[in-house]
Symmetry: C2
Subunit: 326 residues, 2 copies
């Protein structure tokens, strides 16, 4: 009987489960809605019972489960396995999630940041397979980051590293809720991109086909901007290009500091595919140094929404598996 | 008889030698001028004979030497142990320095970047002792960088990482000889600081006590600017503050990505001591996020010019020592 690790990816909307065997192949998966309004106990119970049901369904006995990895939004205390707070689930404050899940299932558990497990998932089974150093940027409401260095998640000395979204790309730039100014995610997240289009239309009275849509919908998102751009809207093209240019600035700084084989792009904005990757590669090449050939590649994430749950199971393999190469 | 590793720090002006025992204590050191004009063979011979003489002088037999670590300016091919080129020593092109030194001494050799060995030196024996993640910035003509992550030098996937001086801190900013624009070292190196003062005086016709000095000397350096600042010169104060502000921007981005315990500042500009560290800490605190307490500390390097040679010997211990914690 093959040994497996369980991955659990806790999100504000869904909880995902997957079983990963020692060859990093998925042996079954499941998904349930997050009972976010029912409080932390209910969320934890749903996580434990969902994992147990998946094991049952796949006919895997407890003795063949090596560990469980949990990917969670944060902030987290990684050493203690504690969720310090969670924006989308009320009451989730100072919850010892690692031990509650581990004790509930009776197997060893490890807690990781959601952006980290997504990076680990892409590294183990996706676009970053076989790389030595890989960085993943998740472009959504904000910009999450994950780093794999020499095959291991790197999270810094206090577990708060890999926050690529809060690198400063514009000194004295846009204020960020984090307290800094000019953070990458104020320019290059999916939300920032849409917000900038809206500002140009509403505050600067710029002409755009997006003005009508904004009037009808009351808001814009990155998909709207890209569609208008594809249809030839000049303002949309300007907004799209500006965000990607800032993203390229961030990628150059990441390349200089970490020298990764690959920077992987995931999250909502990455669904634009080549509409993102094409111009990003062009700006990245243009902004990159010329004293050496460009060694860091850029690629889209390949696991989509599964990266987190695969990486969560992978984190458990790395922590509890015997094999040194995990 | 104590076992030692030899460190050799190859600079454009001096070659330094040191012996480091397993407790990371220095057991003797030496320094000779670099015969830069005599070509690579002469430089290599000087390195080999200098190391052999130091061993002789300290009465250490070949059997008690575990390895030799060499810190060298680059670019380097770390895997091959080859110096690709060296700005200050003519003819030093594609030289297999690691094997030439190792064969010359008859002991195993490892080649590392000079900024990396300085960082390792500070980590093993200086300001970074006992840290988990440490970054060192060497503020001189340019800005060199070294990173220690989980007790090991991190240089990226292609050996070209830790180039903090070429992180982009000002999009579309000053052109850099590296081919990028807005690199940190164009704003915050000792040379950049002095260059900016000169530009304000010569191009912008700004008034300053430095104008006289510039007329007399034909140039300015960072020490001149700091002395004028201390004497109350407003332009010097503005230039000093601007460079340190950019340095703080770079330090915040490093803190977000790498989450180090400590960023150590070395090189010529760090000789300004608290005149650098005081305002840098203030800007760093001001620019840092407020959603978490500030966890990355800033400190001056404590080994001075010995950091490189100590770290070179330390690199040999890490490569060739038996002890896992090295």
């Amino acid at each position: 009987m093959a040994k497996v690790c369980i991955g659990i990816d806790l999100g504000g909307t869904f909880i995902k489960f997957a079983l990963l065997d020692e060859e990093m192949s998925m042996r079954g998966s499941a998904q349930v809605p997050t009972p976010a309004d029912a409080g932390p106990d209910s969320v934890i119970e749903t996580m434990v019972s969902g994992a147990a049901e998946l094991l049952d369904r796949e006919g895997i006995s407890a003795g063949n489960v090596v560990g469980v990895g949990i990917g969670s939004p944060g902030p987290l205390d990684l050493d203690a396995g504690v969720v310090i707070g969670m924006p989308n689930i009320s009451g989730f404050v100072n919850i010892p999630l690692r031990d509650r899940i581990g004790d509930g299932l009776g197997i060893p558990a490890v807690l990781e940041n959601d952006a980290s497990v997504a990076a680990l998932g892409e590294y183990l089974c996706g676009s970053g397979k076989g790389m030595d150093v890989m960085v993943m940027l998740t472009l959504g409401t904000g910009i999450g980051g994950g780093m794999v260095i020499a095959g291991r998640l790197a999270r810094g000395a206090h577990g708060i590293g890999a926050e690529a979204g809060h690198m400063i790309v514009e000194p004295d730039g846009e204020p960020c809720p984090c307290g800094q100014r000019g953070c990458l995610e104020r320019y290059a997240s999916a939300s920032a991109l849409a917000r900038y289009a809206r500002r140009l239309i509403e505050q600067d009275r710029r002409k755009s086909s997006l003005a009508d849509l904004l009037g009808r919908k009351g808001d814009l998102d990155a998909v709207d901007v890209n569609e208008a751009r594809r249809a030839g809207d000049a303002l949309a093209a300007e907004v799209w290009d500006r965000s990607i240019r800032y993203l390229a600035v961030g990628c150059v700084s990441i390349a200089r500091l970490l020298d990764p084989d690959l920077i992987v792009l995931g999250g909502g904005l990455a669904k634009a595919g080549d509409d993102l990757l094409g111009p990003l590669r062009r700006h990245f090449s243009r902004l990159n140094w010329t004293i050496d050939e460009q060694k860091t590649a850029l690629a889209l994430a390949s696991l989509g929404n599964d990266a987190g749950v695969v990486g969560a199971a992978g984190a458990a393999w790395k922590r509890f598996g015997n094999c040194a190469e995990h």
